[in-house]
């Protein structure tokens, strides 16, 4: 309870809630698209840079197992999502595959929120977490889209184009590129820009607060669609992340991650992409209904994780590490 309260009263959770309320009272207010993009560029690049600087201190041994379990999560989560939706939820092939592409990938904002949360709980995660984030981003999308393309017997010729697009998209350039830049520059050069990009500093947290205000507005503007998706998807959007989150936290712990690191990996597994996945699915599986995949990932799973999921995975992680 203490931990949940700490999360709910954090600036970013409150700003997110304010964004939702903004939409509920039918305000027209939102951040300009360019400011929103600018903030996300800053946040992602900061994460990449910091991760790169810290990756310089990591040994091969400490990274190997976490990489393996992350890739395993990237293959398993789209499949579990797909089968639950097909078998239990009776969704069409296209719809199930479309949603699976979202839950098989990862939400960078949720990841950032988890990083910020565990740091505030003094459970500093490993420095190579951004590496894991980039590894988890694309496999899920491709596995899910491949299932959809095969099952609906489509040529799937655009899968390669989709792969290129995901791998060269904003998130990837900034995270992987930032990582390499951080790795190359080293501690000394990092010192000269740390006051700006430090992911524990006030600039990062302030930018994150403003960003989550906007994310709340975006999520809130989808709330009107909640009644369109039916009770199954509502429940799915909460239960599935808990299952994936527990699985990810457990695998992370097995792989030797710290309390904070395992929490963040669990959160990644639990989160659903709503930036990389939607355009990929829209172009590759046009029959999949966007209302289903956008509403479940953005209006259900995303707020759930930000407000309740992250502290929950943190407690699971503490328990698995013999603490709590």
């Amino acid at each position: 309870m203490e931990i949940l309260k700490a999360n709910l009263l954090s600036p970013i959770a409150l700003a997110f809630a304010l964004g939702i309320v903004t939409k509920l009272i039918k305000s027209e207010f939102s951040l300009p698209k360019e400011i929103y993009t600018g903030l996300s560029i800053f946040l992602l690049f900061s994460l990449g840079l910091k991760g790169g600087v810290e990756l310089g201190h990591a040994t091969f041994d400490s990274v190997a197992w976490p990489v393996v379990v992350t890739l395993a999560l990237g293959c398993v989560t789209p499949l579990t999502t797909y089968f639950v939706l097909r078998v239990v939820g009776k969704f069409s092939v296209s719809d199930a595959a479309g949603i699976a592409a979202h839950y098989g990938s990862v939400s960078a904002v949720t990841y950032i929120a988890a990083m910020t949360f565990v740091k505030s709980q003094n459970a500093e995660p490993e420095g190579f977490m951004p590496t894991l984030l980039t590894l988890l981003e694309s496999p899920g999308i491709h596995i899910a889209l491949a299932i959809g393309a095969i099952k609906t017997a489509q040529p799937g010729q655009s899968l390669k184009a989709v792969l290129h697009e995901v791998l060269t998209a904003r998130t990837m350039i900034l995270l992987v590129g930032g990582l390499l830049v951080g790795l190359a520059m080293g501690e000394k050069n990092w010192g000269s820009i740390e006051g700006f990009f430090d992911t524990k500093g006030p600039v990062f947290k302030g930018a994150l607060t403003l960003f989550l205000l906007e994310m709340g507005i975006v999520a809130g503007s989808r709330f009107g669609d909640l009644k369109k998706v039916g009770p199954f998807l509502l429940g799915f959007g909460v239960v599935m992340p808990v299952l994936h989150g527990a699985l990810g936290t457990w695998l992370g712990t097995l792989a030797g991650l710290s309390v904070g690191g395992a929490t963040v990996l669990g959160t990644m597994a639990a989160s659903a992409s709503y930036i990389a996945a939607p355009p990929a699915v829209r172009v590759t599986l046009p029959e999949a209904n966007p209302t289903y995949y956008l509403t479940s990932s953005l209006a259900i799973t995303f707020p759930f994780n930000i407000l309740f999921g992250i502290p929950l995975y943190f407690q699971i992680s503490q328990a698995l590490h013999g603490g709590g």
Binding site: P278, P279, R282, V283, P286, P290
Partner: protein
């Protein structure tokens, strides 16, 4: 004034389709195109982008034959699953031979 009478096709579509549509236009014989960001409302309100209601408006000046090919393609490849609207108007173009 020396002008050639041609067709102008306007397409309004979801932003994710911009690349697909414009490369198709060139493939079908268009020599260029002009794209404007816009927003709108229609019968579906499908939005696969962060910005609700946002769309792209593509204008392309072409011969009547190419215009027909474009409409035919758009109808078959996009109308079933996507929010696309297409209309044609007649225009007099200066230096019109550049566009056929």
């Amino acid at each position: 004034m020396d002008t050639v009478t041609l067709k102008m096709v306007t397409l309004v579509a979801e932003p994710v389709l911009e690349e697909k549509l414009t490369s198709k236009l060139l493939e079908l014989g268009a020599k260029g195109f002009t794209v404007t960001d816009s927003r709108g409302r229609g019968s579906r309100g499908i939005r696969a982008s962060e910005v609700p209601g946002e769309s792209v408006r593509i204008e392309v000046v072409v011969s009547a034959k190419v215009a027909d090919a474009i409409l035919e393609h758009v109808k078959q490849a996009f109308f079933p699953n996507y929010a696309v609207i297409a209309w044609v108007t007649t225009v007099d173009v200066v230096r019109g031979d550049k566009y056929v």
